[in-house]
């Protein structure tokens, strides 16, 4: 018996990821996509295709052509793989096109009115058709944030509670609660506004941010409670059983075991709800109306907001006021986008943590990535 020592034991050992896509391949792919994007832009210039949609279509066609051309020399199995991959990513890309198209055309029309002071000034001393270097949207952003905050404070506990009722308590009214909450999602926003007008506005005797916030809450509640329910449903029953087996009562288990597990999911629920209502116009026209200046008091009278700012600017109809409406739209879209990205980030992080499972090492996993 001779001892043959393997050479591979002698060299220092580095963690490797043989399954990862090689950096060269990734760089080539990125380079090819960039090239195709440029090519698509060229096609858009010389052909009847126009705008973002035309560019996206050209980009898609170029990519598909390339895949089909290269797939010819692959084996049957790889060809199927390659084609399915391109079709799926193209469809995902297609779903992205309307969004891209809206955002780009809004940005193209709205960038003129954006100057550094735009976010910090109001329209108190500026008239709607003044030069675009005066005035701003600050008061509308503040108003929108105040009303959304009110709506969130009202809906978040309610939404989570109804989610808990539907998944944890599962009482006799489960069916009714779910039915009512879901049919609330079908209430037209103008009807919600009218309802709040008839109750809150009329009993207070004036328009206010509070009324606007309540109207938004009515629209936000179905989204939040629906998302909360879905998130809570994902908690495996084993976890609840583990809580009960430790002698915990149902509400303790729901509070200390189930809710912390889905903290990030509930944050996502809230953010999705916010993104859903921040652009609502009709209910605000009936409840908070509009102002031209900064206003911090939610019960002190009419309160400006981004959607009503945009609406008012459009209705005024002069060249500069319409440009202001587009700039306001850019701000509003950016805020919605910000909330969606935030929701993805928070949701994604908790997903990663759940997957990594045990161990401190898992949580500080960088290095080899």
């Amino acid at each position: 018996m001779s001892n043959v020592v393997q050479a591979s034991d002698q060299v220092t050992i580095e963690p490797q990821r043989p399954w990862a896509v090689k950096r060269v391949v990734r760089a080539t792919n990125a380079g090819r996509l960039a090239l195709f994007a440029a090519l698509a832009a060229g096609i858009t210039l010389v052909s009847p295709l126009a705008n973002a949609d035309g560019w996206a279509l050209a980009f898609l066609v170029v990519n598909l052509t390339w895949t089909i051309a290269t797939a010819v020399r692959l084996g049957a199995k790889e060809r199927r793989d390659a084609i399915v991959r391109v079709v799926v990513s193209s469809l995902a890309f297609l779903a992205f096109v309307p969004w891209l198209s809206i955002f780009i055309s809004t940005a193209l029309k709205g960038y003129k009115g954006l100057y550094p002071g735009y976010l910090f000034n109001d329209m108190r001393i500026t008239s709607y058709d003044d030069e675009l270097t005066f005035g701003g949207v600050g008061h509308a952003v503040v108003g929108s944030l105040i009303m959304v905050a009110i709506a969130t404070i009202l809906t978040l506990p309610l939404g989570i509670l109804s989610g808990i009722y539907l998944t944890e308590v599962r009482g006799r009214l489960t069916f009714m609660v779910r039915f009512i909450v879901q049919s609330m999602a079908g209430v037209p926003s103008v009807v919600a506004g009218l309802f709040i007008f008839a109750t809150v506005v009329q009993s207070m005797g004036r328009y206010s941010g509070l009324a606007g916030g309540i109207a938004l809450a009515v629209l936000m509640l179905p989204t939040v409670s629906r998302t909360a329910e879905e998130v809570l449903k994902l908690v495996p029953d084993d976890l609840r059983s583990a809580g009960y087996a430790l002698g915990a009562r149902q509400w303790r288990t729901a509070l200390m075991v189930v809710l912390p597990t889905v903290k990030a999911g509930l944050t996502t629920a809230a953010i999705l709800g916010i993104a859903r209502v921040i652009g609502e116009t009709a209910p605000l026209l009936l409840t908070s109306l509009n102002t031209n200046g900064f206003m911090w008091n939610p019960i002190g009278g009419t309160l400006g907001s981004l959607p009503t700012y945009i609406f008012a600017m459009f209705m005024y109809g002069s060249e500069f006021s319409v440009a202001r409406a587009w700039s306001g739209s850019v701000v509003l879209l950016s805020i919605v986008l910000f909330f969606f990205v935030l929701a993805r980030r928070l949701g994604g992080r908790s997903e990663k943590r759940a997957k990594a499972g045990v161990g401190k090492a898992a949580r500080t996993s960088v290095g080899t990535k």
Binding site: Q6, S8, D9, Q16, A361, A362, T364, S365, T368, K369
Partner: protein, 282 residues
């Protein structure tokens, strides 16, 4: 049996295990072989320098205390390790002489050749017993036309045929735990793997089902290579031809000793192995 014993490699007692190549000829080895494999989860070094050979048509038991990297090791053998986002590895795993981590290899094809049975029975609940057995064939687009024969043959080899032959259209979830596990074994046999990995397949089962699965494993070894992780020393001594003992001293897990099961249980070369198989620690 004597020939089998000789092909098994033993390793150095130090943490860097060296491959003691008893038979010399490397390229013609049939079966599964690992050469100095390491595994990481992020920065956490979970497994260090394991070199082992699993000759064709043998059963190898992997034993060792909790957390010493047995599951990590077994998941490296059919490329399931890479599903963990922070995972990394080093070394090579050879199936009949060719590296399964070679960039030209298709991981799906590797997993077709190296099957796996999990600790918790996981039959597909939405499928019937029959569909469960045929699931692999459907999922991998394999061309087979004698489906009924395959179902009967695989269920028979898994020791489940007699119990379920009259209710093949019942849901896979309607079986008992032990039956579900045997259904999972039948499911992995249907795609005709060359190697079957089993990570504590009996840990949730009663003694009767356990014995039946052990018989199944012995019969399987007439055709394929079986690698089984177990915490049950009697089980290891009953089913396996070879045993490999893993350990960790707080750092990465490593291989202490690997040899024929008889030697590991009667006269191991490392005192820690003797202590472990006699239940003195771990």
């Amino acid at each position: 049996m004597t020939q089998r014993t000789m092909t098994m490699t033993t390793s150095d007692l130090s943490a860097t295990n060296k491959l003691e190549d008893v038979q010399g000829d490397n390229s013609s080895f049939r079966g599964l072989e690992t050469r100095a494999v390491h595994a990481w989860f992020g920065k956490h070094h979970a497994l260090a320098g394991v070199s082992l050979r699993f000759p064709e048509r043998t059963v190898t038991g992997l034993i060792g205390p909790s957390g010493c990297g047995k599951s990590t090791f077994i998941r490296l053998l059919n490329r399931m390790h890479e599903f963990i986002p922070s995972a990394a590895m080093a070394g090579s795993v050879l199936l009949n002489g060719s590296d399964i981590y070679d960039p030209s290899e298709d991981p799906a094809m590797i997993r077709l050749k190296v099957g796996m049975v999990f600790q918790k029975p996981n039959p597909f609940p939405a499928m019937t017993i029959r569909e469960n057995v045929l699931a692999g064939i459907k999922l991998a687009h394999l061309k087979r036309d004698n489906h009924d024969d395959i179902v009967e043959q695989c269920l028979t080899r898994a020791g489940l045929w007699k119990e379920v032959k009259d209710r093949l259209d019942a849901s896979g979830g309607s079986l008992s735990g032990g039956q579900q596990q045997r259904l999972c074994i039948a499911r992995s046999l249907a795609v005709e793997p060359q190697v079957l990995l089993m990570d504590e397949p009996c840990s949730a089962l009663d003694p009767g089902s356990t014995l039946r699965i052990e018989e199944t494993i012995k019969e399987l070894a007439e055709k394929i290579t079986v690698i089984i992780v177990t915490h049950n020393m009697q089980q290891a001594s009953r089913v396996s031809d070879y045993c490999a003992f893993f350990l960790t001293d707080g750092g990465p897990g490593y291989l202490v000793e690997a040899d024929s099961t008889r030697k590991m249980f009667t006269n191991p070369s490392d005192p820690r192995t003797a202590d472990y198989v006699q239940g003195k620690f771990g």
